[in-house]
């Protein structure tokens, strides 16, 4: 029964939401209270799991369900690949009424075979969705048999949307990796500076902006989980010497359990901005040295940090004046809630508020500190109408958020920049800081804002 496997996930001790609870609350698990019908937004557990696993670029990702689950959804993420683009194909069993009546296991079995014949992937992920979960398709059994038959991992990801939120799906994906993938393969070689990056999904190439810096410092990303990953890289993650959980709520269970099982120390960090990036590098170097890496790693890392920060300062100059004092409304989630605040402040901008809806307690604290303890600048969910008013009234010069809230800003005719997964530019690390500064500067100074906010001829007053 699915719920049996869900309970431990809800009980995640690494979860900040959970840690803050009374025992009674804990008993109920850290499952947030159900979303309100008619007033909800956000994806489902399947959505979260797919986001987390799909960046494994050489695997086949088969969605077992009706057309809605993949037809409305395939190739809509901006995870980037340096090789295979199999992960971008939309693979689904596209269940029909007949499949529902007769059961979809046989169709799934054939679909797996077809995917393997056509693409010869190193592994197949099979996503269970609501309808076949309801009708009782046993995808665990199908996947086990297919693994046997095809001589490669065929991995069930049991995430029907109805079991919960996108965030839950992230964690279920993590559980899936822990159960089926991580530790199933040994690396060809290991080094004392091998690391794993958890929940860094290489959105439009974020990962590629930090990779060169790790290389300069002498660290090797043994296992990206899962951005631009090959399946075998995830499978060998257990040989990393330290790991970082990049998006704090997503897949924190992976970091914690890798520590439990293989003694790999982990920390929560971010590549958002210069300060966070330097901090992440420092923490890694410290942990690696603690794990036995040569102690000069720390000095090498500091040297890299110093050089990179100096370079950023130099190249930031052209943007300084444009950005200075500009007011930002930040509406994002996870540890971007605080990391972006520090980033924007480093750019000389004023953050008038940040949403901490999806942030951990730790994250909220950091955001509060950055905003001089001004609790009124920490928002939960802002209703669209209120957000529209804030922007229309000019309380902010620009909003940074995800695609869903963009039209609030745009309809209020205020500059907006995508900082979530649909953006077209990578903002990670030192290089990304400069890209972000450039994009903000370009957006703020685009002449269209004057134009769209100017009066229409019929509003100018001097015409009939």
């Amino acid at each position: 029964m699915l719920s049996d496997r869900l309970a431990p996930v809800f009980d995640e001790p690494g979860c900040a939401t959970n840690r803050a609870k009374t025992d009674a609350q804990k008993k109920a698990g850290c499952k947030p209270k159900g979303p309100a019908p008619g007033a909800a937004a956000g994806g489902c557990a399947f959505d979260g799991a797919k986001i987390s696993l799909q960046p494994i670029v050489d695997a086949a990702h088969i969605v077992h369900g009706p057309i809605a689950c993949e037809g409305n959804n395939w190739d809509n993420r901006h995870s980037a690949s340096s090789g295979s683009d199999l992960y971008r194909r939309g693979l689904t069993t596209d269940l029909t009424e007949l499949d529902v009546i007769q059961g979809g296991e046989k169709k799934l079995w054939k679909a797996i075979r077809q995917a393997i014949e056509k693409f010869d992937p190193p592994a197949v992920f099979v996503y269970q969705t609501c309808v076949p979960a309801l009708t009782g398709d046993d995808i665990r059994a199908v996947c086990a048999a297919a693994t046997e038959r095809h001589g490669r991992p065929v991995i069930p990801v049991e995430v029907p949307g109805f079991v919960g939120s996108k965030n839950l799906g992230n964690r279920l994906a993590g559980e899936t990796l822990l159960e089926h993938v991580i530790g199933t393969r040994e690396p060809e070689t290991t080094t004392p500076t091998d690391i794993a990056l958890i929940a860094e999904f290489n959105i439009v190439g974020d990962l590629w902006q930090v990779m060169p810096v790790f290389e300069k410092a002498g660290m090797r990303v043994l296992s990206p989980i899962t951005g631009d990953a090959r399946y075998h890289q995830v499978a060998q993650a257990h040989r990393a010497r330290a790991s970082m959980v990049v998006c704090s709520q997503a897949m924190v269970n992976v970091g914690r359990k890798m520590q439990e099982r293989w003694g790999i120390p982990y920390f929560e960090g971010s590549f958002n901005g210069v300060r966070a990036t330097s901090e992440a590098l420092r923490t890694f170097s410290r942990l690696l040295v603690e794990q036995g890496a040569a102690p000069d790693l720390i000095d090498r890392t500091e040297a890299v940090i110093a050089a990179e920060e100096a370079e950023v300062r130099r190249r930031f100059e052209p943007y300084r004046e444009i950005l200075a004092g500009k007011r930002v409304l930040l509406y994002t989630g996870g540890n971007k809630s605080w990391a972006m605040v520090s980033t924007l402040q480093d750019m000389g901008m004023e953050v008038i508020g940040t949403s901490v809806r999806k942030a951990t307690d730790h994250g909220k604290d950091r955001a509060r500190d950055l905003l001089d303890g001004a609790d009124q600048k920490l928002f939960g969910a802002i209703p669209n109408a209120e957000m529209f008013r804030m922007l229309k009234d000019g309380e902010a010069d620009i909003m940074l958020s995800g695609g869903r809230s963009q039209f609030v800003a745009l309809n209020a005719r205020r500059p907006w920049l995508d900082t979530n997964q649909e953006r077209h530019h990578a903002y990670a690390g030192y290089a990304g800081f400069l890209v972000l500064a450039e994009r903000i500067a370009l957006t703020l100074t685009a002449p269209i804002w004057d134009q769209v906010n100017g009066p229409a001829p019929w509003d100018a007053g001097d015409t009939p």
Binding site: G38, C44, P66
Partner: protein, 462 residues
């Protein structure tokens, strides 16, 4: 006659289809102050929402009953009622459309009965506060067809909920507009109707809601679209004009309810289809075609001639939902192109009459592989994701249909009517010509090595 084939394969690769409830939602967004409510888990709404946003680049009001595990197992009627209550009281939509999803269909909930019960209870409970909200049931199962089928079901649902017998109204048309019509198409259709001195009600009318205008206020429901009042008066017309085979169920129901004659035009692309529209409008209006329409027809004739030079004998592979496919096949073959492969989303009436070599009910991988099998093509016509097939086939892509996520302004494309047909003819000819220009004035095989100019070369003695 080409019978549609369904490829025997368990694995769909790169679907052409989107889900019918997405189509139903979109139709509901074409009604003023409309609000679609997907009855399912949150993801059903989230995926549809994201895709609609990526295509239209507009705020998309769309809600969910947010079914969890317990409701999924025990039944979701309570969630449905709660959602409707919340929306009616908070957002006050003029039309609230309930779209079941695969999840609720699978449980075989008797949604229609549930909805009646909910409406009764809420009416009693809320009284005046219920307002003018029209509750629409838009049953479009996830399992049959795609966007156009869902759209058709939603429009039929609106007719079911709103249409009543009305006195005929001379010079007015009720137009049931298919999912294959863009905002640009609808603008053009309305202009043409008005050029004949007629007025019309478009249902749905995305040209007022998802046309990309910047509103002055924030709205939780759709802005623009078919006015609520016009829904009560769907029967107050002199005739019904339905565009697209998939509008037939709605048109038939409206005709039955209101006793109006129906003309169904399956496409408005291509000279003959445009001529049929002209004939209908001439008959309804009792007026001869106005000068502007005649001029546009004459310009189209010239465009067909100009375009055929590049197009004759070229091979065009097309992927689109049935009624859009019909229009694209028509103009491509009118220009003398051959269609080696057409891929569509579902078996729809009349497709077997299309002049194509192969018609596959399938996915975008079928488009690619079947066209490769057939020897390739010079042009692909399809939605944005068909770019992969186009690249594999080394052919340009003309983007039509849904979704178009990699460009802005697609809703303003107009490929129907005399003008729109002209535009698509030009687009086909230019895409082919530009693609072939790479090779123009270049040898058919690798060029011989250049003989370098050297001043030491032997020079003739005399």
């Amino acid at each position: 006659m080409t019978q549609p084939e369904t490829r025997k394969k368990a694995l769909t690769i790169d679907p052409l289809k989107v889900s019918p409830p997405l189509g139903a939602s979109l139709a509901l967004l074409g009604v003023e102050r409309g609000m679609p409510l997907l009855h399912g888990s949150q993801g059903c709404t989230a995926f549809a929402l994201v895709l609609l946003v990526r295509h239209f680049r507009e705020a998309i009001p769309l809600q969910t009953t947010a079914l969890g595990e317990i409701e999924t197992i025990l039944g979701g009627t309570d969630n449905l009622e709660a959602a409707i209550r919340t929306l009616v009281t908070k957002s006050k939509p003029a039309v609230l459309g309930v779209c079941p999803t695969g999840l609720t269909d699978t449980r075989s909930e008797d949604m229609a009965a549930d909805l009646r019960g909910i409406a009764d209870r809420l009416h009693a409970d809320l009284g005046e506060a219920w307002g003018e909200t029209l509750l629409v049931h838009a049953p479009a199962p996830d399992f049959i067809g795609g966007l156009q089928e869902g759209w058709g079901a939603a429009v039929r649902g609106i007719v079911e909920a709103a249409a009543r017998p009305r006195p005929r109204r001379a010079g007015h048309l009720t137009v049931l507009a298919g999912a294959h019509l863009t905002v640009g198409d609808l603008d053009a259709l309305r202009d043409t109707i008005e050029a004949f001195g007629l007025t019309c009600t478009l249902l749905p009318d995305l040209s007022g809601s998802l046309d990309g205008h910047v509103p002055e206020t924030w709205s939780p429901v759709s802005l623009g679209g078919t006015p609520r009042a016009a829904l009560d008066d769907l029967g107050a017309a002199s005739a019904i004009l339905a565009i697209g085979e998939h509008m037939r169920p709605a048109a038939d129901l409206l005709a039955e309810r209101c006793g109006l004659p129906v003309t169904l035009l399956d496409t408005l692309t291509g000279l003959r289809a445009c001529d049929r529209l002209t004939t209908v409008l001439t008959e309804v209006s009792g007026r001869s075609a106005p000068t502007a329409v005649r001029r546009d027809r004459s310009r189209l004739l010239d465009a067909l001639i100009d375009s055929h030079f590049a197009a004759v004998g070229q091979r065009v592979a097309i992927a689109a939902e049935p009624d859009l496919l019909r229009g694209m096949v028509t103009i491509a073959t009118d220009l003398g192109c051959r269609v080696p492969v057409a891929v569509t989303s579902t078996r729809a009436p009349g497709l077997e009459a299309l002049p194509v070599d192969r018609l596959i009910v399938g996915d975008l991988d079928d488009l690619e592989t079947a066209t490769l099998e057939a020897g390739g093509c010079d042009l692909v016509i399809g939605p944005s994701p068909a770019i992969r097939a186009a690249k594999a086939l080394h052919a340009p892509l003309i983007r039509v249909g849904f979704p178009q996520v990699d460009r802005v302004g697609s809703q303003h494309d107009c490929f129907t009517g005399y003008r729109g047909t002209r535009q698509v003819a030009f687009a086909i000819a230019n895409a082919i010509a530009e693609s072939h220009a790479e090779h123009h004035l270049r040898p058919p095989h690798p060029s011989p090595v250049e003989v370098p100019h050297d001043s030491d070369a032997p020079v003739a003695a005399g």
